[in-house]
Symmetry: C2
Subunit: 200 residues, 2 copies
Amino acid sequence: MIMINERLLSQVAFIHEIDKLKYIQRKTRLFNSERSENDAEHSWHLAMMTIVLAEHSNVKVDVLKVLKMVLIHDIVEIDAGDVFLYDTNKMHCNTMAERQAAERIFGLLPKDQFDELTALWEEFEACETAEAKFAKSMDRFEPLLQNVSNDGGTWKEYGVDYSKVYKTQLVIKDGSAAIWDVAKPMLEQTMLKGVFKKAG
Amino acid sequence: MIMINERLLSQVAFIHEIDKLKYIQRKTRLFNSERSENDAEHSWHLAMMTIVLAEHSNVKVDVLKVLKMVLIHDIVEIDAGDVFLYDTNKMHCNTMAERQAAERIFGLLPKDQFDELTALWEEFEACETAEAKFAKSMDRFEPLLQNVSNDGGTWKEYGVDYSKVYKTQLVIKDGSAAIWDVAKPMLEQTMLKGVFKKAG
């Protein structure tokens, strides 16, 4: 007699499907590098940052919850694609394409896990809870470090102006004032190199 | 007055350094693909597998601990390189090169975090606790799924014999008998395709 573990097989189908995240290229490049980062590498890096930096969160966070958030936060991009943070022509959060992607991809899982991952992704996007704010600060701080190491990186490449970058990066402060105290001077020093477009 | 947060700066140095994991290529290829996987992608995938499969562990595990283990388990390969699982000419666990790598890379962190990550890596390598056994089963199951999807993948490419693969994959059972019940028939069906070298 062969017993079929349908629950486990649906989980395996999900594990198989999310392999595609390794093909989703971001605009940002690796540290001191010309090579683009993909979403799987990016998500791993945010998870490692969460492990070592969680102690700096403004509010004590549930580290397991933050880890889950950063590990899954870009999975919807398998269908919806990566949207560059400074692209003004596109919607960035919770678009219809992203919602449909969440439905399809998390929908491969058993119902209880579909509910859990969908709720975590929505919580991340809403950016209201302490965990979501900290996860979002990791999602800003990694490309900031990368762009700083690449003499402006995508800020320079796409002609983004300083005030816009500064405003976008302020999200870090909502998650961690201590990290912002380190990030801000990095941003200012990079600004002095003349990598930003003049506003106006 | 400028306050220097040395603890945070040492954590940032670590975050910068581990970017190199994205350049460490494994032998195994992505699902249904010719493209090699790198260690950062692999570690992200094991973390996602841990999230959805932890319920199948033989013994209830601390999911946060398993996540940390799988996220850091290959960081030593930044210095020591990836060793192919079926390479009989090389030592595989806790080599001197790996120990020195752990010392150098985790050593970038503050002492308490150096101690924590080193202990987690050693626990993973020793494979005695429930968390380490489950983490190790994820580390076997992902390449098994990849090789199955690639009609034998590295097993075929490097002429590994079936009995050796079977024995190596039995580690999955130590972490989860339920996952082994799904993995074993996959292995047997791949064997029937004649992808393995005849033992002897």
